[in-house]
Amino acid sequence: MATQAGSLPPLDVTRAPEGGEIGPVQSGWRLAFREFSQNRLAVTGLGILAFFVLFSFVGPLFYHGNILTSDLLSTNLPPGAGHPLGTSNQGYDELGLIMNGGQAALEVGFFAAAIAIVVGSLFGAISGLLGGLVDASLMRVVDVFLSIPGLFIVLIVAVRYGASVLSLSLIIGGFSWLVPARLIRGEVLSLRERDFVSAARVAGSTQWRLVRRHLLPNALGVVIVNVTFQVADAILIIASLGFLGFGLHWPHQDWGDLLSNGVGYLQDGYWWQIYPVGACIVLVVMACNLVGDALRDSLDVRLRRR
């Protein structure tokens, strides 16, 4: 682009070179967040989850459906005046029951996922870091528990020790930590060979500090993706428990319990006792899966648009 023979235009350092835009330096998390927020399905999923959290925990403050006194004069009413989703077979308001059920389902879901992630991460990180015989025996323990059908043990413990939010979260978490442990161990095994780990060791870091400050934060991406799937699985398990009749008891009923109450009236055509509750379960689980899939895609460097 010479205007005169033999001379070049003055070098303009404020204009971008022809290779492309130079943007500001961004951290890995910010790039992942940008990917995530541009995925419309993921944002919808997050919105659905936020809606259900508000619906279950804040909703009862505004909508006072009758869920405590049985009202035998208004049993099995279809949706209509005063009862937007009809009433159950004992006269309780369905919408109020669904709000209440959401509390138990979400509480158990998040609590079980939290237990699963904390226990699984520690187990996997220690196993991956120490390696050798410790690693082999710890992974055999994980194999043993992975072979046992978790739903069966959850049912047996629920029958023996009764069902409460705490006991169900503990036992569901007690079977859900296996998959995060495997995933974290895999991540730690690959991170262990990196230079920053050797540098930290040379600098005198203890094993525990290595796990806490270096390995776990870098494996966090895998952990976060797994949390969302754990929440979805825990909600499905507690719904199944409730449906089989071994879930929580009144007045802390959750969605599965409501479904099991409604199933008996399937042939009578009382659809309002079945389909709204089922739709809530499906929506929440779908939202968790959407968010989890999008997180996994946004943290995967190969799919990133640069």
Binding site: P149, L151, I156, G245, I274, G278, I281, V282, M286, N289
Partner: protein, 315 residues
Amino acid sequence: MIGYIARRLGVAVVVVVGVSIFIFALLHVIYPSPAIDVLGPRANRVTIAAFNKQNGFDDPWFAQYLHYMGNLLRGNLGFSYKLNQPVDALFKERVARSVYLTGVTLVLSVVIAIPLGVYQAVRRNTIGDYTLTSLAFIVYAMPVFFLGLILIQVFSLNLHIFGFEASQSNSIFAIIGDWHDMFLPVLTLTLLTIAAFSRYMRSTAMDVLAQDYIKVARAKGLPERLVLTRHLLRNACLPMITLVGLSIPLLLAGNLITETLFNFNGLGLLFYNSLQNVDYNVLLAYTLIGAVLTVIGNLIADIALTVADPRIRLA
């Protein structure tokens, strides 16, 4: 390869022993002795203690565990005091039905999910792909019983095509022939399994399509049909083998709920009734069998993968 199989077999044996220790520990903590079931709810402490001493229920736990393992190896799974039969007799009555339900589900799911996944990967980002992916996603998020309820409502109560209760016949041949009653239970389990398998199959097939050898095959002028069957299908089926092995616990859980929903007199319904009756011997025996089946399934899947995939065999 023989070394690999021998090592896997060794690991499987260790896992089965570990599972039996866990199940026995659970049994010992929850249900230390059947004294109250045998002697009646009004038995006093002296009688219970005498019963325990006589039948070895107050031996040290290690001796009890060896006794339990000895029984297992001889095929004696325990005795159900609520139904007054040995547990293996109860299982023998019902195993054919559960095997039929689960077997048909597995076969149908694999046969349908593989072509479905390949179709979704080949016709990626078209209307067909989007519809199938969304459908699979919605079905994957449903609990088993809700899907079953919807199917019952639509096909049985509204359209009157199929029956809403599974076949109650005693003969396995009558059950196999009774498609009117068995269609919905099989459909419920199959749809869920297909939803899970086709998601995985789609992503596997997409990964395979991005490989270089597919490009070479197309560049050589191989017809698309042959590219798909000769190259894509064979390579994409390999992770499915592992997936089938890993999905056995899910099939067992789905089996339990489906049999309860459709009142199908198989092992799942036996488990549910034993939960109501609080019959721990049956419950823990079935859990042990489920765990052993899972270990065997994973072992077979690993060996099959080693045989089928030369990259692993020759590594």
